[in-house]
Each structure stands twice: as C-alpha cells, then as structure tokens.
C-alpha cells in the first residue's frame, strides 16, 4: 500500500491538474460540510427542546384541586375543592412502595422577606425534603430541608439563587437569618433551578413550619410525585397512567366529585408530555439524518460522476501508459488512489470546516429552540470514512473501465 513512487505519481497528477482536483474535492467537501452542519442543527434543536422541558423532574406527576363542574350526590357544582394533609397521607400510604419522590405543597404567593436593609417580595413554598428532586434543583451552598426540620417545626429556609443575589449580594447566605412575615428564619442553603430566574426567586421552608406560621392549618395547595424510572419508556408511561387513574378515583371519592368531572381535580403527567417531545425530537433527528444521508449519497454519486469524467479525460493518457507497459491493476490503482486521497482530504476538510462553523456560530445563537449545536465527532468521522469507502466503490467501476481501455482505441481516438 505504501509505495513512495506511487504517491509521487499521484501527487504529481494532483499538482498538475489543480482544477480537476479542486472540483472533485469541492463536491465531497460541501457534502460533508452540509451533513455536519445539519447534524449539528439537529442536535441543537434537540438540546433546545430538552432544555425547555427540563425544569422539573421528567417523570413528575402533579395534582392540584379546582372547582367542580358537575352536580353530584346533592352537592352543587362550582364547589371549591380543598386538599388537606390527609389526602396526601392517603396517597402516600396507599402507594408507598411505588413512589420515588413525594411532596405536598402549601404555598404563600407573595410575602415580604427582609435581610438587614434589603427586602423583597417572594413566593414561599412549604414542602417536604423530596421537593428538591421534584423541581430538579441542585444545591449551590448549604443543604436542603430534611425530615428533622419538619419534625421540629424548624424555622429554616432554603432560598433560590436569584433571591440570594438580591438579598445577600456576593456574601454567603447560609447561616444568616432572614425575616419572613416578621419571623426570623435561618438560611440553611441556596439552590439553583433549571427553571431559571422565576424558579430561583422562591424560598422553601418545612411544610409543618409553613402551615403553622401562615395559619394554613392542614391545608395543602397541591402534591407531586415521581415513580421510579424504568428501563422502557412505554412501560414507565403505562405505570404512571395506572397510578394516576387510581389516585384520581381515590381523591374523587374522598371529595365527593363526579367521576366524569374533569375540572375538580387536575393532574399533570410530565411523562406524557415528555413522550410527545421525544417523538418530536426523534422525528426531527430522523429528518436531518435523512437529509444528511441524501446529501452524502449525492456526494457519492458526484464522486462517481467526476471519476467517469476523469477516466474519459484521461483515456488517451491511459492508452499511452498501457502501451508503455502499465498493467491493468496499476491503472485501477492510479485512478482509485487519487480518488481516495482527494476524497479523504476533502472529506476531513469539510468535517473540520463544519465543526469550526458550529463552534464559532453555535454559542452566539440565543434561540430557545436551538441550543449548543454540536456534532458527535465519532459520528462525523464515521460518515467521512463511509463517504471515502462509498466513493472508492463508486470510483472503482470507472477505474475498471479505464483499465479495460484498449491502447489502440485510446491512441487513435483523435
């Protein structure tokens, strides 16, 4: 394979036939370039969409009450349903083994919160320790709530990163005391939330403390759960749907709600949403792959075509070479070797340019639906290799045709 003389022969032909080389290379280069950019955009769209729906745990099920819309068992419609601790306890007791994370929520929409001379209005969420995971939050400093805090009715608070910046600036918040509704709470941690500024302008306190301090009694606003993740997406979806049906029946029974009343109790299943999104993402990806492969195919056909033209153009030269003693194999190799070399160089150049473009332009894109367009390097290299192989195969037939050219025909072809 590594025959220095043959390489010299090829470099010479390439050097002396710059336009031909350039045109062959260009068709390959642009094919790979387009493929890389397309795959990058596909990846970017996926990242964008995934980011949009990443705010909460992806298999989260949320339940909150509304008003009845149907008369039932002597009760008027338009009756407001109020969840209580016992509703949450019932669900937990009944489905204990099937739940991964669970929390109920008692919410105060706006409350004045003060730290030294700084103050602002923030939403207060009284929750269980699991709430951190239901909201997909990560700790920036300190810790989240724990069961002891709940048992002791501790006056502790975990605040969002945005809120921390507004009240504390650059200073450490953990260990400091903030005043909520006139009561001192100790900050035990700061969280960040993929939901962004809005989700980080909140403060989480133990639900026991919250209900007591804000006169909530045993009322809760909503409850959220996740089920353990499963291997198979469809299995997970079926499990969550079954869980929802059970809970819905249970809660409707407790609150005397008609089975066909859809507005009294609302249930949101993120998983179901996720299924739609995954389907969308995979459709987009399939589309981009299809376009990419079609581009590659066009590239391969292009290479084959150029090879045919090259063979045609070099017919006479091939005739001369054969008259001088070139063996058929050496003719095939001469054509193929050049094709492989140009295809490989142009392919990797196209790959490089595509990646440079994605790298340069990618971070500048500030669209919700296009984020970090990037291409899997291995996939990209594999496509180049496939193109080179396919190009070789496409080039083989013209090359073989070249090898079969009869010197007399080639030489009298004037």
């Amino acid at each position: 394979m590594f025959d220095l003389d043959r390489w010299e022969e090829i470099f010479e032909t390439i050097r002396k036939n710059k336009l031909r080389t350039f045109l062959t290379g260009l068709s390959v280069l642009s094919g790979i370039f387009i493929l890389v950019v397309l795959l990058g955009i596909g990846e970017g769209i996926q990242n964008g969409i995934e980011h949009q729906f990443q705010n909460d745990a992806e298999n989260r099920i949320s339940i909150w009450p509304g008003r009845t819309s149907v008369d039932y068992k002597g009760l008027n419609k338009d009756r407001r349903i109020q969840f209580k601790n016992k509703d949450y306890d019932l669900v937990v007791r009944k489905f204990e083994d099937n739940l991964e994370y669970k929390s109920s929520l008692y919410r105060v929409w706006r409350s004045m919160i003060t730290y030294k001379s700084e103050s602002g209005n923030y939403r207060i969420e009284s929750v269980y320790p699991d709430y951190q995971f239901l909201e997909n939050q990560t700790m920036v400093e300190g810790r989240y709530l724990n069961p002891t805090d709940l048992n002791n009715y501790s006056k502790v608070a975990v605040i969002g990163e945005k809120m921390k910046k507004e009240l504390f600036g650059k200073a450490t918040a953990t260990g400091e005391y903030i005043m909520i509704n006139g009561i001192n709470f100790k900050v035990i941690g700061v969280y960040s939330d993929p939901g962004g500024d809005r989700a980080e302008s909140r403060v989480a306190i133990p639900i026991t403390t919250g209900q007591r301090v804000f006169n909530g009694g045993d009322q809760i606003r909503s409850m959220s759960f996740t089920l353990p993740t499963m291997e198979n997406f469809d299995q997970a979806l079926a499990a969550s749907e079954g869980f929802i049906t059970d809970i819905e029946r249970q809660l409707k029974q407790t609150h005397t709600v008609a089975p066909n009343d859809n507005s009294a109790i609302s249930i949101n299943n993120t998983l179901k949403e996720a299924k739609r999104i995954y389907f969308m993402i995979s459709s987009i990806k399939i589309f981009f792959w299809f376009v990419g492969i079609a581009t590659l195919l066009a590239g391969v056909v292009g290479v084959g075509n150029v090879m045919l033209i090259i063979v045609k153009e070099r017919t006479k030269e091939i005739g001369i070479r054969k008259a001088l003693g070139a063996k058929p194999n050496s003719i095939i190799w001469m054509i193929l070797h050049e094709a492989i070399f140009i295809t490989a160089i142009a392919g990797f150049l196209g790959l490089f340019l595509g990646m440079v473009l994605l790298d340069a332009v990618g971070p500048m894109i500030k669209s919700d639906f296009l984020r970090n367009p990037a291409v899997n390097f291995q996939v990209a290299v594999a496509t180049v290799v496939i193109l080179v192989i396919a190009g070789t195969i496409a080039g083989f037939f013209p090359a073989r045709r070249a090898a079969r050219i009869k010197p007399i025909d080639a030489l009298t072809d004037e």
Binding site: L4, E8, E9, I320, A323, L324, G325, K327, K406, I408
Partner: protein, 233 residues
C-alpha cells in the same frame, strides 16, 4: 527477432466482416531497419498493432524474440510491451502534464525502477536525443521535432528489443523529418531492430528493407540500398 506465419485478422462491423490481413508471412532479423508501406486500408496499421501486442491476430503465429505471442492476459501483454517493445507515434503521445524527463522515465516506472536511478537513466536518453537542456519543459513548450525526439527517448528508455514507429514523421515538415530519420538510423546503427510504418516513399528509402502491403497481402518485400538522411540536407 520477429517471425509471423500465416497471419489473419478480420474486423466485424455488424453483419459484415472485413478481412484485413490475409495470411501474412514475415521474418525480421535482429538489427534490421524495415519499412512497411502501403496505402490506407492496406492493413499496415493493423499489422503494426498486432506486432505491438495492442491487438491480437485471429489466426497464425507470432514469435517475438522466440516468445510466442498468443492468448496473453492483459497483465502479461503489459509486461511484454514494456520489455520487448518501444512505440513511436505520429502524434507523439506524450503525457501533457509531465515534463520531458518524466515522460521518458515512465516506462522505467512501470518496470518498477526506483525514482533516482529512473531519472538518471531517463536523463541519459534525453542526452542521447540531444534534449538534455529541455528536461524540465512540458511537451507544449517544445516543437514537433523535439516532441518526437522525446518520444524516441521514451521508446528507448526501457531498452526494448524492437522499436515500432507508426508514421513517425507524419506530423513533421521535411527538414525535421530528415532529422528524425537520421536519429532513427543512428539508433539502428547501434544494432536496434526498428520497424517503420509509412506511406512516404522517401522515408521508406531511408530504411534497409521495404515491405509493400496491399489489400492485406505482402506484394513486395525487397532489401534496398539505404539512403542516409544526412545526405539529403
């Protein structure tokens, strides 16, 4: 050196078959300078192609330096062409993007010779045809006579047994033609067997033997008194 017996060749074009060579017998000894004459259609080019292993006869035998040329594979034919034969064409057939030196070195490349000795040997042959100073020029920078000299150097490079020239002066003016013929005569003087296909009387007279071909048969084969090309100047 060349021995053919009862050589037949026909070309099929559709339903009709054209019988071009009708039983040729020819014997060419080592060191001869032979011209094959005939009008167009006489079969002289076909004969040359068969002698050059570019085409194959339908019938009859062909011995080249004692080796039977029959049913050769493409690969074998290529090796024989390289080893036994040197071609000189009317239209020179130099490779346009290669320098004079690289053109001459090409048969040596196909012999598998390494680059350095290959180029040195090619340079020797360029000197022999008087074009050493033009080694790095491309064919389109050379005159017709110079191109044909390069082609002759190339034909000689692989040190073949026989030189086959197809109308070597066909594209040249008479002065240049004589210069080329002079070169061919000099090469023959050194003992190389040379075969020239031509339809020009004065070119044929510069060889040592004229074989006349008409309608696929040899009608005349005579040894003549060679006229030296230099005498014409």
């Amino acid at each position: 050196m060349i021995k053919i017996e009862n050589l037949h060749k026909s070309y099929k074009t559709g339903a009709t078959s054209l019988h071009v060579l009708k039983g040729l017998n020819l014997n060419i000894e080592d060191g001869e300078l032979v011209s094959i004459m005939g009008s167009s259609g006489s079969g002289k080019s076909t004969l040359l192609n068969i002698l050059g292993i570019l085409d194959e006869a339908d019938e009859g035998s062909y011995l080249l330096d004692g080796v039977p040329i029959k049913n050769l594979s493409e690969k074998k034919a290529a090796v024989y062409r390289n080893k036994f034969l040197g071609f000189i064409f009317q239209s020179f057939n130099l490779i346009g993007y290669k320098t004079a030196l690289d053109n001459v070195a090409l048969p040596l490349y196909y012999q598998g010779m390494k680059r350095q000795p290959r180029l040195e040997k090619a340079m020797d042959y360029l000197e022999k045809v008087g074009l050493a100073d033009w080694a790095t020029h491309l064919p389109n920078q050379l005159s017709g006579g110079q191109k044909q000299r390069i082609a002759i150097a190339r034909a000689l490079a692989s040190d073949p047994k026989v030189l086959l020239a197809d109308e070597p002066t066909g594209a040249l003016d008479s002065k240049t033609s004589r210069e080329i013929m002079n070169l061919i005569q000099e090469i023959n003087d050194e003992g190389k067997t040379i075969l020239i296909v031509t339809h020009e009387e004065d070119i044929a007279e510069m060889t040592k033997r004229i074989v006349n071909l008409k309608d696929g048969v040899i009608i005349d084969d005579k040894v003549i008194e060679q006229k030296r090309a230099l005498d014409y100047v």
